[in-house]
């Protein structure tokens, strides 16, 4: 290892031989020290110039790291005075003591929106948590009561089936076949406790052969985190309304591709059937594997859904991922993957003795819920409820911000991406919203190459709010941003 060390108020150690870029190392270590309290609140950090000298890196490397930390709210840049660390409540960060208000949400920002603790947020357009009214508590409780009976003592005293309960896998198989055209047998389904864990197993299984993975840019940062943590090289491939750039994909030399084709995250675009076929052809020619993450496929508000890539793949080139987090409950921690036959063998070999992380009780309740027809009814209900929320959001934005913004990713899922036509900077827009008591979310971290991000977008989730709240929140945003 070739280490460069900077000592002082806080110490930064750079490893030149690491796969992590120097700016990410600086970024990560400063962030870690702020979170751990080693860098005290309000401390002035070394200037860009002095840190670059003491570490022996270019000024630009330090600058990029500092700016990233600023945009995430760890640092603040005070004109002519330098960079100062911000107050980050570590306990809050870790969701300790957040009994009522603040459960950890997928898109909890550490950015501008959250910090000012005196700011009262009345309308939170977060993405991740669902509306409490949509969870079928009564039915869930009733089934739990039936399941937790003495005749099931043996099941509660035993390991669950390794890849998930057979009954649940059979229900998932039937559902996927009906709704997404996915063709598989129950033994191809692996029940996991969250998509990150599904991806973690995939990485362990494929890393040695594939080395790296390509993914959409912008793309789902949660998947990217897993790839990076598992040591895969991540190649971002450009993508916007027109779909993935095949030229860039080919150039990347990657043979593993992670996609969200049915409602691209975060842009919300839907991949055309032509592009899907092109990608399958690419996979076949390159002996590649496509990981198709169909994370919110249940929620469609218009038009016919395009069949999953898995359903048109005849060669076993697609791993299909699904989750119950968007349509039923993220508290269940239930996800699944469908492995193509050629990978099943490898899975059995690697994970022969692994037992799914999903508890028996959770699986058993869901199995009954699906088998008894509640799932189908529930889907109709949440689809309708979210379509109403979606429609109110779209209408309100059109009414209040007509001509000034563009909405991406309509007609599906639980979020939209809002783009400011005047190119205004997301940080400023988040601050303005916060000052009006409305929280919207930054989009920058969905890009790996930040310079590709135009900087003028915010993410708005609508799955947890009531229609009235959405309407009022958007009105306040209109005031905040365009000062009617």
């Amino acid at each position: 290892m070739d280490l460069r060390v900077q000592k002082g108020a806080s110490m930064i150690v750079l490893d030149e031989t690491s796969a992590t870029s120097l700016y990410m190392q600086i970024y990560g270590q400063v962030k870690g020290q702020i979170l751990s309290g080693r860098i005290k609140e309000g401390s002035r950090l070394p200037s860009i110039r002095s840190l670059s000298v003491s570490l022996g890196v270019s000024k630009n490397t330090v600058k990029v790291a500092y700016h990233q930390l600023c945009s995430e709210g760890y640092l603040v840049n005070r004109a002519r005075r330098g960079f100062f660390s911000q107050r980050i409540d570590q306990e809050l960060f870790l969701n300790l003591n957040e009994k009522n208000a603040g459960k950890a949400a997928e898109a909890r920002p550490l950015g501008e929106g959250t910090r000012s603790s005196k700011q009262v947020i009345r309308y939170d357009f977060q993405y991740g948590n669902l509306n409490p009214r949509d969870f079928p508590m009564g039915i869930w409780r009733k089934i739990a009561n039936q399941v937790l009976s003495p005749i099931n003592s043996r099941s509660m005293a035993s390991y669950p089936e390794r890849q998930g309960e057979c009954g649940l896998r059979t229900e998932i198989m039937k559902y996927l076949h009906m709704s997404r055209g996915v063709s598989c047998r129950a033994n191809q389904i692996i029940v996991c406790s969250g998509t990150r864990f599904s991806l973690g197993l995939i990485c362990q299984m494929l890393k040695e052969e594939f080395g790296g993975v390509a993914m959409e840019e912008p793309g789902y940062d949660g998947a990217r985190d897993v790839f990076v943590n598992c040591g895969l090289e991540v190649a971002p491939v450009g993508h916007w309304e027109e779909g993935l750039d095949l030229g860039e994909l080919t150039q990347s030399k990657a043979r593993l591709l992670y996609l969200t084709p049915s409602h691209q995250f975060p842009t919300g675009s839907v991949m055309s059937i032509r592009k899907r076929l092109e990608l399958l052809d690419w996979a076949e020619r390159n002996a590649a594997i496509i990981i198709e993450d169909d994370y919110d496929s249940e929620l469609r508000y218009g038009g016919r859904p395009i069949p999953s890539i898995q359903s048109i793949d005849g060669r076993g080139r697609v791993i299909y991922l699904g989750t119950f987090s968007k349509s039923l409950s993220p508290a269940l921690r239930l996800s699944y993957m469908v492995l193509p036959h050629p990978l099943l063998e490898r899975f059995y070999e690697k994970f022969r003795k692994y037992v799914t992380g999903a508890p028996w009780l959770e699986q058993k309740i869901l199995t009954s819920f699906m088998a008894d027809g509640h799932w189908e009814r529930h889907l109709r209900k949440v689809c309708l409820a979210n379509r109403k929320r979606h429609d109110v959001l779209i209408r309100s934005v059109e009414r209040v911000m007509a001509g000034r913004v563009r909405l991406h990713g309509k007609n599906a899922g639980l979020h939209v991406l809002l783009e400011f036509k005047d190119g205004s900077f997301e940080g400023e827009r988040l601050r303005q919203a916060g000052a009006q008591g409305v929280r919207v979310y930054p989009a920058a971290h969905y890009w790996i190459h930040r310079e590709r991000y135009p900087g003028n977008m915010v993410l708005m989730g609508f799955g947890s709010l009531a229609e009235k709240e959405i309407e009022e929140g958007v009105c306040l945003l209109g005031d905040a941003w365009f000062g009617r």
Copy 2:
């Protein structure tokens, strides 16, 4: 990559540049092809000689792989005729359609014991599943009923707290402090869905810095699987009654060490306090990390427990692992790890947006169970019940097999290791037991260097049986082995 390929009835591809040894590659690929059905039931495999020629490896390499496959029941060696693949019911292997009898158990063997489907097993000394009578179903149901109330709708519609519910972590903290002397704050505890998943996160966190890991030989194969799957080099370090061999440890150059000091798996020895202090000293001198897996620390049947290594570590060198699988239920999929302060920062950085795989409901029920005093009562109850099973087992073995066997790992946990003094081979002993309707388990796979394994042991779990069954089972074993 330097690949050696053998074509024929089935194809084996060896990768000389892989970290996996050649014999493990042959073993893994043949096993995979048998499980997937690519190698048909009853096929004759290439002879040792011809396969070694076609792959360009030594005969010994093929021989070790074949013998391993024989001892696990994938192949059978027919005198003067060669090696034949055995019938492996893939569905059975995957625990499909095993509704009643056969839930996946930790120690389900694929070895001699299971295959002959006509054999009726009346006494199964499996290790992993618990006795259904010990699970507190009534209380669990009552708490579930309270928890699944409309006032908790928000929790069921939201992500759980990232590192586990604060309430549960606080209960675990209090329990660990009282019972194991573990000193930590709730924010150092990460709730996971099984020890393999805890270890998976640890590997992702430490792989880059540490590269490899040392572990006890023999040792827990489940942990070894995770290390190998995550790409860590595993260095086996000799260990028997007298404890870990510090010379071998130093020689291994490893700076990460995985241990089961309080009831070594599978030998059951207890690491002395002197050895614990020596290891901490080793860790301090080498800037090393010790992963202390205290998997069955709740179950002690004699003598004072020795304090955990974590409790005597003042320098943040120990990661402490625990699970509810042995003392409460493996169906819950609940484990936890306690990170030392120096690693917390790294954990936050790597897993900032990860959400625990443990569902909210499971966590919430367990929190109430612990907070209301049920946990303490439950522990007393299961400790007593298992002590009785343990005592019956020990007494029966002493009565029936006096002088012919040696028992390792008494006075704790849910298993013992039985050693045949006459050096008889485990495979033969498993077969004889099976013929009498008794299943005991192979021990070979706990060794990485199989040549170190004397070959004369079997593993016996007693946690799921009734006392009467244990007594009768041991009597039958006496008949089977020593033909009274």
